[in-house]
Point group: C2
Chain length 339, copies 2
């Protein structure tokens, strides 16, 4: 069994590199943050209040960073990509807000969720408002195709969530179904973020296609790693308890891979957690022990690496430059992130 690459002795070096790659678009990310702040507000008191709370909650801003790097790669330097960077983060936030309602989540990034603080009702409407605001902002530069791409990605996302929900608690979820869900719920918005700059005039359809492929592979990698972190990270790092996914009835790659191999008694351990949606009769450590013995964290990590490499290969058509280097580095950053 190889050591999972998630346990990484070079994590320190990489975080230096990560800050360097974000430095490239730091002023634009700040500008996007300002657009985000300005538009996440309204004369409706609850939107104002919740908007401040959401902004304070932060986030990795990985989608805006990728969008701004892709824009730089294509030689754009205008307010347009800044707006779109804020828009993808708006859409991502709206999704999280509705997902947290559905998952009955109490914590997100270590902070109480909106639904936990203000109840489901206000929160459903706030999510609607943010989705619509995102589309309105995206329209502001008159690029219809940008909004088309965002709508298409948002539809895929919602479909992915619906598919996941329909199979919630199912122990027979297949690897194919898992990847179909990941593709829709995560990869398409990454693809949209990376390819939208190609729609800013002068349009670059071929580059756009390549960047969409890059984003889609990177998004898949991102989600596999996200699912791995649910096994490997401490609550202090990702802001939610270990094995939250399983507790919510969600089977992810490390468990799907081992279910076909393990003894019926071990399968029943997992079935029990799925059924009771909690760790009453089974301890998290019992599940973690089976996973460790079967080595499926390393296997899943290897699959994530394949997607990371696929993303990097896509970029070969572009001439060298700092934005290219940063985009080439992004899959490594995603693979080795700890939160």
């Amino acid at each position: 069994m190889t050591t999972p690459p998630l346990v990484d002795s070079q994590a320190g070096d990489r975080s230096v590199q990560a800050s360097r790659f974000l430095d490239l678009v730091a002023p634009k990310l700040l500008a996007a943050e300002e657009v985000f702040r300005r538009h996440l507000d309204s004369d409706v008191p609850f939107i104002h209040k919740a908007g401040i709370y959401i902004r304070q909650g932060g986030g990795k801003r990985i989608r805006p960073a990728l969008l701004l790097l892709a824009a730089r790669l294509l030689g754009h330097d205008s307010e347009e990509e800044v707006t779109y960077a804020a828009v993808v983060e708006f859409i991502h936030n709206a999704t999280l807000i509705h997902d947290d309602i559905i998952d009955h989540a109490h914590l997100r990034r270590g902070q109480p969720t909106l639904n936990h603080l203000w109840g489901n009702n206000l929160t459903v409407l706030l999510g609607d408002w943010i989705y619509t605001k995102a589309m309105q902002m995206a329209l502001s530069h008159g690029q219809l195709e940008v909004v088309q791409r965002l709508c298409a990605a948002t539809l895929k996302m919602t479909e992915g969530e619906l598919m996941a929900l329909e199979r919630l608690g199912a122990i027979d979820l297949t690897v194919e179904e898992y990847f179909e869900i990941v593709d829709r719920k995560t990869a398409h918005l990454f693809a949209a973020a990376c390819s939208i700059p190609s729609l800013i005039p002068p349009q670059r359809p071929e580059a756009g296609q390549v960047l969409a492929h890059y984003g889609r592979a990177l998004g898949t990698c991102f989600q596999i790693v996200d699912d791995l972190l649910d096994f490997t990270s401490r609550e202090s790092e990702i802001g939610k308890p270990v094995l939250s996914d399983l507790k919510e009835g969600k089977l992810t790659l490390p468990l799907i891979l081992l279910l076909s191999r393990v003894a019926p008694a071990e399968r029943r351990l997992i079935q029990t957690v799925l059924d009771e949606r909690g760790f009453e009769r089974v301890a998290p450590q019992q599940i973690l022990d089976v996973v460790a013995r079967e080595g499926t964290l390393a296997e899943a990590a290897e699959i994530a690496e394949v997607y990371a490499a696929r993303a990097q290969q896509e970029l070969e058509i572009f001439p060298p430059g700092d934005a290219l280097e940063a985009l080439e580095f992004a899959p490594d950053f995603v693979l080795h992130r700890r939160s």
Copy 2:
């Protein structure tokens, strides 16, 4: 006390007229229904299943009818207005779907609600999907301003719902707050529906502004009447129990108008229903008796008539024609509808 105009001896005549005014756009309404059917579908099993259910549920299709009449008034005859007619009905349906979750409603138009049948989680996501699909459909004719107008109306709607929710159960809701909520949650989408045809080339900005004013006044009239029907209609007519609004904690015009005049004991009756969100200690008839004595149904109906007349006055700039006649008749239809 005057007889409320809702109790109308000419209802028979009016329903003949209503069918005549719908006849004008009947083929287009059918075409819009087909667009609605075709787009309310997906390879995700739940969307397919829920889509069939939503279509079977029907609806008054008043927003599409108004949009198609406004298009006819402006001389348009293309697939474009048919798409937009389906789009406004999509948006309206998405709102209803999320509202029913928030209101914990079990019945809509006499049928079990989606949330009652399939739970809140799938239903939240379905609403998101329909909102996004609506925007995608609206983009299909390349008219950016149409999507802008729809986004603006949808934001207003969500804000209206949020404002209503923040004041849910409040006995001190003012007439001004009531109209602000009605304007945002209902009138703006009516205004969008009526004015969108003016954005189809050749654009007619002045006509668009007039039609927006018409729609906004008509929408306000529609909502006041909707709120009145909660007092006057039987469950068999509107498909939900009498005084549902009050039971859900929503104060509407007839009660707001009388609260400042009645004795403390009667005020406490209303407070009790608002507090317990039900009719445990107060019978619906006790409330209805106070309302009848104070005559505020007639007062609210008179206010609705003012808005109906205002809508009709807006249309004076247009030359005579069948579409104009139908639009002039629409406020009467809205005022005197029984469901």
